[in-house]
């Protein structure tokens, strides 16, 4: 039924925001990880979203999905700590390019987007329920 296309849009949005949340949590968990793949510190990751067609050709109803996970190529943070096992010859340690404050803000944004999706779903459902009341005496 066409009515339920809205549910698919909301579902895709909730799923996408949850994946974004997973990425943010991973970033925050690895804020001090000095050993990731290829021997480098952990690189901050981000998600790219793209439009998901619900009904092909219907531009009024478009969901969202995760296109890809990208790595943030900004430079690592460097601190001086010669006692660290991963320090280089000069005593400098490279730490992940994750900013906890930035991740916190992203987390709040994700949460608000999730909340907004749920609110729009509830409103849609209320509209549907109101429709059923049409003509009821």
């Amino acid at each position: 039924m066409k009515l339920f296309g809205v549910l698919q849009v909301v579902g895709s949005s909730l799923q996408a925001q949850r994946q974004r949340m997973n990425i943010i949590v991973s970033n925050m968990a690895n804020v001090h990880t000095t050993r990731a793949e290829d021997g480098e510190p952990y690189r901050r990751k981000d998600l790219i979203f793209e439009v998901e067609e619900i009904n092909p050709g219907d531009e009024s109803l478009q969901g969202v999905r995760v296109a890809e996970v990208v790595k943030d190529n900004s430079p690592f943070k460097v601190i001086y700590d010669p006692s660290h096992p991963d320090a280089d010859q000069n005593g400098y340690v490279k730490l992940p390019n994750v900013e906890v404050l930035e991740e916190m803000v992203n987390m709040l944004m994700t949460f608000r987007a999730y909340e907004a999706s749920i609110t729009s779903f509830n409103t849609t459902k209320n509209m549907f329920m109101k429709l059923l009341e049409l003509g009821r005496s």
Binding site: Q8, L14, Q15, F121, L132
Partner: protein, 99 residues
């Protein structure tokens, strides 16, 4: 006796419909029944989708899809209930008719 009269009234109504309404050409006499059956089939389909989603959830599937499927089933069920209520009230209306 009264049953006979109702039948007679029914047949005049249906024959009038057959003659006047355009949709009678495309739909058979049991058009409404077919529509109702299709709607019920759709409802059953939605409910089995929900079952599948919940089964998948039990096997480590995605909770969002399960919740969405549940909501979908709930809305379809409400819709079905509403159609049923309208049908019953129409039937009662006819029952109260003076013959």
């Amino acid at each position: 006796m009264s049953e006979l009269k109702i039948n007679a009234v029914n047949s005049t109504i249906t024959s009038q419909n057959l003659h006047s309404a355009d949709f009678a050409k495309s739909h058979s006499q049991d058009g409404f029944e077919v529509v109702l059956k299709e709607a019920m089939a759709k409802l059953v389909e939605i409910q089995s989708d929900t079952n599948n989603a919940i089964q998948e959830l039990a096997n480590g599937g995605d909770i969002t899809q399960a919740v969405i499927a549940l909501q979908k089933a709930e809305m379809a069920f409400q819709f079905m209930i509403e159609v049923r209520n309208r049908l019953i009230s129409a039937y009662e209306e006819i029952q109260r008719m003076q013959v």
